[in-house]
Symmetry: C2
């Protein structure tokens, strides 16, 4: 969700749309771009919801250009108290919504602001989500393999390897995360064998 990303970014410092977009690119990299076609409407929505406020102050810049049709100046946004609250709430979210394809990366990008326990739960959730998908695809593939041409097959196998790779990455991250944290009475099973 773009909202979390905007909240997370604005938590560091007030920004205007264009900067927000640059920061989004710098923060999410290959993972996601977020076009203006998403950004501006989202900003509007968030402002209407009261999570962010437009920080006027560059109004003088406008002064020298009088009655120009829709003269627009920079619009700087900053977090409101409700916005901070919402951010905290979203950051604490560790359920399914946080391990979806599109969402996970955003949550991960703001892990520095996330509670360590929540981090592990998101990581594990994401991993099982991926493992489920992998098994589903593997099952289907086993059933239909014979009927598929070589290109389709290669696509499937490449995809499966990609998923595998991400699972391995997540496993590493989980281990690092666990070793960083003082071995708190682990509520989840220490070494869940194969899933």
């Amino acid at each position: 969700m773009l909202e979390l990303a905007v909240l997370g970014l604005l938590h560091e410092s007030p920004l205007h749309g264009y900067e927000l977009r640059q920061r989004l690119k710098a923060t999410l990299g290959t993972f996601r771009a977020f076009s203006y076609g998403s950004l501006y409407p989202t900003l509007r929505r968030m402002r209407d919801a009261g999570w962010i406020a437009e920080d006027e102050g560059n109004a003088e810049v406008v002064a020298d250009a009088p009655a120009l049709t829709g003269r627009r100046g920079k619009v700087v946004y900053k977090l409101t108290a409700e916005g901070k609250e919402k951010l905290t709430e979203l950051l604490a979210e560790a359920g399914p919504s946080a391990w979806e394809d599109e969402t996970f990366g955003v949550h991960f990008a703001f892990f520095a602001q996330t509670d360590p326990e929540v981090r592990v739960r998101i990581l594990e959730g994401r991993r099982s989500r991926l493992e489920e998908r992998r098994e589903g695809v593997r099952a289907t593939l086993a059933r239909t393999r014979a009927r598929l041409d070589s290109y389709t097959l290669q696509l499937q196998e490449h995809g499966l390897e990609s998923v595998d790779r991400e699972v391995r990455w997540l496993t590493e991250l989980i281990e690092t995360e666990r070793s960083k944290a003082p071995a708190r009475r682990t509520p989840s099973r220490p070494k869940t064998a194969r899933s």
Copy 2:
């Protein structure tokens, strides 16, 4: 685009929505799912455009259940002549639209039905698209690296590696493709499949 996938699948045999969805899963695997929320509206659109036709014939099944509200039977779709034409047209598409993230996989899945020269051009286009993105992200990363926390950094680097991996995959495929084809000379005029 879902349309290409549907056309490609129906080219093999007539199918109804549910089967189409199963085939979609079996064909695209991890790459994409395509929910019913996309499928049915698309089917409607394609029918209205005249690319596919509803193959009635299971109407008798309905007979024994008289005035049931919205009694629905299977709706089998098959390709029309225009649909076949459209499929040929889409399969010949080798321009930017074919190397987009969401589109590429669908094109690839139907490579068996695609002209060998077009295959190579799609593969190469996809690869440069990915390389461009990678360089862009690398540049941004070099500029901002110092300011990023370790999680953001890890996300970026994982993403970069994924892109790298796909580039390598594509390179292999291109080589295989070239060695399969009798080393034809530089394609007669790029035809620049703009659009």
